[in-house]
Subunit: 118 residues, 2 copies
């Protein structure tokens, strides 16, 4: 069945959350947001492109840092209101220099850092 981007469910701001997962390690790297046009650009270019809510602009991941995400597989969920992009990540995914954004864990009521900036 041809993929119809119109079948996706965007929020009131026209956005849908996109989880990025490393296609090899399967680590969850980050969560960011896409609109219809950034989905089209991601599928067309193979370069993962989000919508920056803070800058209100397209955000080609790694365009400035070089830490690009090459699209390996594009998936969406049962409710069509969340995306999962499997990627080949160049360099750290997190702007803090860590491999991924989820570097803090809560254990026995304490926040523990799982990785340091590289």
């Amino acid at each position: 069945m041809p993929f119809d981007p119109e079948s996706l469910r965007f929020n009131e701001a026209g956005l849908i959350p996109a989880i990025a997962q490393d296609a090899t390690s399967k680590d969850v790297l980050m969560l960011a947001w896409m609109n219809a046009e950034s989905i089209a650009r991601t599928l067309e270019t193979g370069r993962v492109t989000y919508w920056s809510r803070s800058r209100q602009a397209f955000w080609v991941k790694g365009e400035t840092s070089g830490h690009v995400q090459e699209l390996v597989d594009f998936r969406y969920d049962c409710d069509a209101d969340c995306l999962l992009v499997l990627v080949r990540q160049t360099g750290p995914a997190c702007h803090t220099g860590r491999p991924n954004c989820f570097y803090r864990a809560v254990r026995d009521g304490e926040t523990v850092e799982l990785s340091a900036p590289v």
Copy 2:
């Protein structure tokens, strides 16, 4: 450092997205939402508890279906506006009966189903 739930950034509805990942297979299972109280309950009980936006009620995952999620690790991201819960999943995570919610992929413009209900 003691974990302060107040340091998390909730959206205007008081919610934060939570990605559930299978702690063993590392498959991304689903994305749902939590509020401050469902986070407290998840950490206290070890049973992953979301906030259902459609029902406007706490949603102890698997309470009805038996497809519970036992918390293995609770993480949050650099911006403190997204959670990642690593879980031990009993049965299928998706309400469609599939192992996870991300069973549709877009390949060459076509939607492909990656798994069937079990």
